[in-house]
Symmetry: C2
Subunit: 368 residues, 2 copies
Amino acid sequence: MRKADKVTVDVISQKAGVSTATVSRVLNDSPLVHPKTKRKVLRIVQELNYVPNALARNLSLNRTDTIGAILPWVASGFYSELLRGVDDVARAAGYHIILGICHDREQGPELALKYIREQRTDGLIILDPVLDEPILDEIRRQNVPFVLIDRTVPSQHVNTIMIDDFNGARNMTRHLIEEGYQNILFITGDLQSYDARERLRGYQEAIEESQLAQKKELVIESNFTREDVVPKIAKYVEKNLLPDAIFCSNDEMALGVYRYLLENDYKIPDDVALAGFDGIDTIDFLGITTAKIPMHDLGAAAARLLVDQLVKGRSGGDTPALQPQKVMLQTELLIRKSTLNPKKAAKLVENGPIQTKLVGEKRREPLL
Amino acid sequence: MRKADKVTVDVISQKAGVSTATVSRVLNDSPLVHPKTKRKVLRIVQELNYVPNALARNLSLNRTDTIGAILPWVASGFYSELLRGVDDVARAAGYHIILGICHDREQGPELALKYIREQRTDGLIILDPVLDEPILDEIRRQNVPFVLIDRTVPSQHVNTIMIDDFNGARNMTRHLIEEGYQNILFITGDLQSYDARERLRGYQEAIEESQLAQKKELVIESNFTREDVVPKIAKYVEKNLLPDAIFCSNDEMALGVYRYLLENDYKIPDDVALAGFDGIDTIDFLGITTAKIPMHDLGAAAARLLVDQLVKGRSGGDTPALQPQKVMLQTELLIRKSTLNPKKAAKLVENGPIQTKLVGEKRREPLL
DNA sequence: TTCATTGGTGAAAGCGCTTACAATTTCGGC
DNA sequence: GCCGAAATTGTAAGCGCTTTCACCAATGAA
């Protein structure tokens, strides 16, 4: 049924009375075709509503105009912003996105390799914290441009987009100190993960550098989950005096602590201040201070890096390959009511629970 | 650089001492190749780590193994579950997903058409509430299978996955009535939208059918946004007596109302009960009753429908085309503390704020 | 031994597009 | 009006895979 009306270059060239070569040239805006011919061909193209078959085109050009996005699906809502960022710049550059959701630990690398080997993608954006070296080598060996997100890698010759967890945590801690909090409890994430270690380091650095005397460094080790943190904070609070402030390594844990505190009639921030890290919706709604990870920018930056490589690679092999880059994005310190010390706050204008004030780093210009 | 080591069917056939036809047959598991030959070829394939080029394969087969997902990016986190659902069943069926995010109203249909015309996809899943008829016709004319999500369409011959907004809202209202609430305020979404109208209808139906005498039907018209609803609810509460319960057409508005109520020292549910619709994270955290839209299933159902069509279409043209289907998915009534009438609740076991109880429809078996 | 059969296999023609190269036309300058 | 260069256009060979159809070697029956 479709077969009959399938319109290809040949059909066009026939009707226009030119060769397929000319049609192709017209379609690709080649300068070496006579304006008159061009008009004629374009008219037919319009008339028949012709659009070149991408597959054939790509096969011929040895290019797919597609980039693969390999993502885990850990925190669904969280990553979607990232995807949006990738899409924004990729689309602007004429690239499509093929989705590679790695459901479990195994599938991620598999998928990436499959896409590459099948040559379905021109490049890859990989967000997979547990990608191990051998796989990475395998990927690199394929000679396809790729960008890693939020993943440290020993080898230098890899494009990477990172979050500056260290500075994010340090700034947060500084903020708490500036607000006059003295005993700041820090709850770590899973210390296996690089992010968790960096955030801890940031906290420690800020504590150390603080001029105030004998700051105590208070740390509870947890694992980024709500379930794990609640009993720990409960036990801690019962055994010790309540700290001035609690800084959780991520928002998820902050939510757990938040609930615990409210249920036990502690007032935030009057009895204890609370801060998280990530910038998820619920934290936003509750008016809890956090260090927001610029997910959109993260995706956009990755895509930008990748697209640059691809475009460079396309324009002849003569231009030298781009040097692999490491980009570091800053978090955004969103100060909310939950960390505004009432003693100081009295002097300030009233802060609504949702109102967000920007302190610390300036807002990054959005990429793209 | 890559050129030299590019391994194709020819290379394989050469090394194996057979023709490319045979290699192809081996790769496609054709029965008419001698086991011995097959083994030989497969060994070489392994050895050279050969994977067929998808582009060439697809061009030849006139098929892409790809389905396009056209989505708006209205509520980022919300749709990601849907995408996951699509991915789950699509991948299981051997299809890839190419992402089509329509940023603004214009781009959606454009994108869909582009993908089709370029023949980048075998089929399409479209979630776009404002897709208009002409475009739809155009899409249909392309003779490519597609499925519409949450979008009513006059014409019968279209695959559609719908949410049963009517029943969802009716069940919610029934629940509120059962809990003994008498004055139930309903806040509508943008009544331009079909969803909004259906939810209103469900509410009205439940009110009407309730045996209790002279139920008043209380309706405030809003538009699904927090900004719009807050002043309206404020004005309403100031002018009238507080209703028993407030049922918002979506969670977003419920959040607005929630905040308003708390800020004005109304206790939920003691002074007034609160319910939403959608099932977003924050509502979950706050322990607010809602009708959860099964986003994952929505995507999975759409993908299932599409994949069935595609597979059917693939297996020779003799099998009759599948009849277009309309699938209706039920929402899940998540009853939380926010609508448990204290007078009745006294008899019940204490309900923690997060605890979710399932009432009404049984949990749908997840598709796939 | 000879003649259909029947697996197995290979040659070659696509799939729909691009592009190097050859062929043709056009044109200014003589 | 003629010539070579420049401007257009056409021819045909790919891109890497599938698949039709023809071909060949076994195999069994006669």
